[in-house]
């Protein structure tokens, strides 16, 4: 088999594929340093400047280009993501815990939960808006939009926890029970520390998905904008490089989040190892 030639070809292709993936983002990052306020969202760069970054924070003299409405929206998106993260992780862990034993109707429950991540946001968003309308419920980001965010992220948390429990050795729990430790205490002291990396991943999933979620939020959030909705609002008007600058900043924020996750993960793995060593000693 002429594998090396094929390998070289595929390797080159993969490099091109990565260019395809990153190209738009690189262009966007470059153009965010366009001069302002007269510089447009296209090449060439007239002059390099951080004008649009200052513009985001309202540090530039007023111009005809209105600032992105991100202040309040940022707070709302953060709060919504944290609420979603907590609730969907709790729901995910408890549902997955139930799935450790086989029971009748588990297929139905499994697909009911997974359906939450499969149904497109625009459909549940529409359905929720209709429900709210006919029951006379006000639509708010912390109410109708929040429950839909959980519908979306709970399945992810559930699947992550299922995978974790699949590799879980129940004999440690059984040992604790047989020594007369109560189930609640066993969960707190033994089960939870062991599944903690999974819980962390579920939380990361839930937070980032909710933070970026917008098709469910569009119909369900009422008047107040969340961050993605504020960006969506710029679609219908002229795009200025301030959106690009904002994109660069949110990406950096995501990396900070990812970094925190990685640090917590390493910490918990190290602690688990230390515990194992202590037990052996």
């Amino acid at each position: 088999m002429n594998a090396s030639g094929i390998k070289f070809g595929l390797g080159t292709y993969t490099a091109l594929f990565l260019v395809f993936l990153y190209g738009p983002l690189v262009v966007l990052a470059i153009l965010s340093f366009q001069t302002g306020p007269e510089g447009g969202p296209q090449f060439p760069i007239i002059e390099w400047s951080t004008y649009w970054y200052k513009h985001l924070f309202g540090l530039t003299p007023p111009s005809r280009i209105s600032p992105l409405p991100i202040n309040e929206a940022l707070f709302r998106s953060m709060a919504l993501a944290v609420m979603t993260m907590i609730v969907s992780t709790v729901l995910g862990v408890s549902a997955a815990q139930a799935f450790r034993r086989k029971f009748k109707g588990s297929g139905f429950v499994f697909y009911l939960i997974v359906l939450g991540m499969m149904v497109p946001g625009v459909l549940v968003g529409l359905g929720m808006a209709l429900v709210a309308n006919s029951f006379g419920i006000d639509r708010h980001w912390w109410g109708t939009a929040f429950v839909l965010h959980v519908v979306y992220t709970f399945p992810f948390a559930f699947l992550v926890m299922l995978a974790i429990f699949n590799r879980f050795d129940p004999s440690v729990e059984e040992a604790a029970w047989s020594l007369g430790v109560s189930p609640a205490r066993t969960f707190r002291k033994i089960t939870f520390p062991l599944i903690f990396p999974g819980v962390l991943s579920a939380m990361l999933f839930a937070f980032t998905l909710s933070y970026d979620e917008f098709s469910r939020t569009l119909f369900a959030s009422g008047r107040d904008l969340t961050l993605p909705l504020a960006i969506y609002g710029t679609f219908s008007v002229e795009v200025h490089p301030n959106v690009f600058a904002f994109g660069v900043l949110t990406t950096l924020f995501s990396f900070a989040l990812l970094g925190t996750y990685a640090a917590l993960m390493t910490l918990s793995v190290r602690r688990a190892k230390q515990m194992a060593i202590q037990e052996e000693a």
Binding site: F20, Y22, L25, L31, F103, F214, S236
Partner: protein
């Protein structure tokens, strides 16, 4: 729709739900019933309500459905949705498969292949809407691609069809969704036992032969899982076409957004139900090929 493919495990007879499981499951199940199933049922119900210019009444009628299936706009949106979905689906497979093949099969170093996969996922840490918008300075008349093509001298005049056309929507969606194809395929390829391929090599099989008889069939579950992801996401799309087509490409999702915007709830609901039916059919068909629960 999904229940079709589920088979109860044969080995252990399933126990009845005990009290403990009931308490663990109840919150999640109730949440999904109230905030997922009820809204969808409501959408089906409202699609039969009577829509007048300014309001909607719960008098049941088939009028909205009749309007939908006789209107040029709605039918063309339906056709566009199906056309774009199929095009993007094929494009993500064609674009993604070779990359997945390289990462999943040819990169033997575990760290390197994980690193490459992470590299594919990193763009997802940028907001979805920003990723969509990022295609504008790429594809525009004065965009990066036209600039480069003109500098090299491949074209004399900028290619205008790149932006605000169906092509731009397809390019944008392919880039945004191809990773959902690469991931599952690479995962499946990574699980192939290398000794099977070595055995085929020792017996003198060519790469083409090995690909057709071993690699392709064993990676099919990955293609199907990827197709489910991509299909579900593309069928429910409206933002990419709104941002990149300049309102020229209307998908069913766009129809729903416009109708909700003008408070035509019944028409939005009809479009929603049609979309749900298409999606249900697509996912059910794909799930017949693989059992999702087994592949996880």
């Amino acid at each position: 729709m999904a229940v079709i493919s589920y088979t109860t495990p044969l080995s252990v007879p399933a126990a009845r739900v005990s009290r403990r499981e009931l308490w663990l499951l109840a919150p999640g199940v109730i949440w999904m019933m109230l905030f997922l199933v009820l809204p969808i049922l409501m959408m089906v119900y409202v699609s039969f309500w009577t829509q007048t210019t300014f309001k909607i009444e719960p008098t049941l009628t088939l009028k909205s459905w009749a309007t939908f299936f006789t209107s040029e706009t709605y039918l063309s949106a339906l056709w566009t949705t199906i056309r774009i979905w199929l095009t993007v689906l094929v494009a993500t497979i064609v674009v993604g498969y070779p990359a997945a093949l390289f990462v999943g099969l040819f990169v033997k170093n575990k760290t390197l292949s994980t690193g490459l996969l992470v590299l594919c996922v990193i763009p997802f840490w940028t907001s979805f809407l920003i990723r969509v918008l990022a295609w504008r300075p790429m594809l525009g008349k004065e965009g990066a691609i036209n600039m480069i093509l003109m500098k090299i001298g491949i074209v004399q005049h900028p290619i205008e069809v790149l932006l605000f056309s169906e092509l731009s929507v397809i390019i944008g969606m392919t880039q945004i969704y191809c990773v959902f194809m690469v991931g599952p395929i690479a995962f499946m390829l990574g699980r192939i036992d290398p000794s099977v391929i070595e055995a085929a090599q020792d017996l003198g099989a060519s790469f083409g032969r090995i690909f057709r008889t071993i690699i392709l069939p064993l990676s099919m579950p990955g293609v199907v899982v990827g197709s489910i992801f991509v299909s579900v996401m593309v069928l429910g799309e409206f933002a990419t076409s709104a941002a990149l087509s300049g309102r020229k490409v209307n998908l069913l999702g766009n129809i729903i957004v416009t109708q909700v915007g003008s408070l035509k709830w019944a028409f939005a609901a009809v479009a929603g139900v049609v979309l749900t039916i298409i999606m249900g059919a697509v996912v059910a068909a794909l799930l017949r090929v693989v059992d999702l629960r087994k592949e996880l």
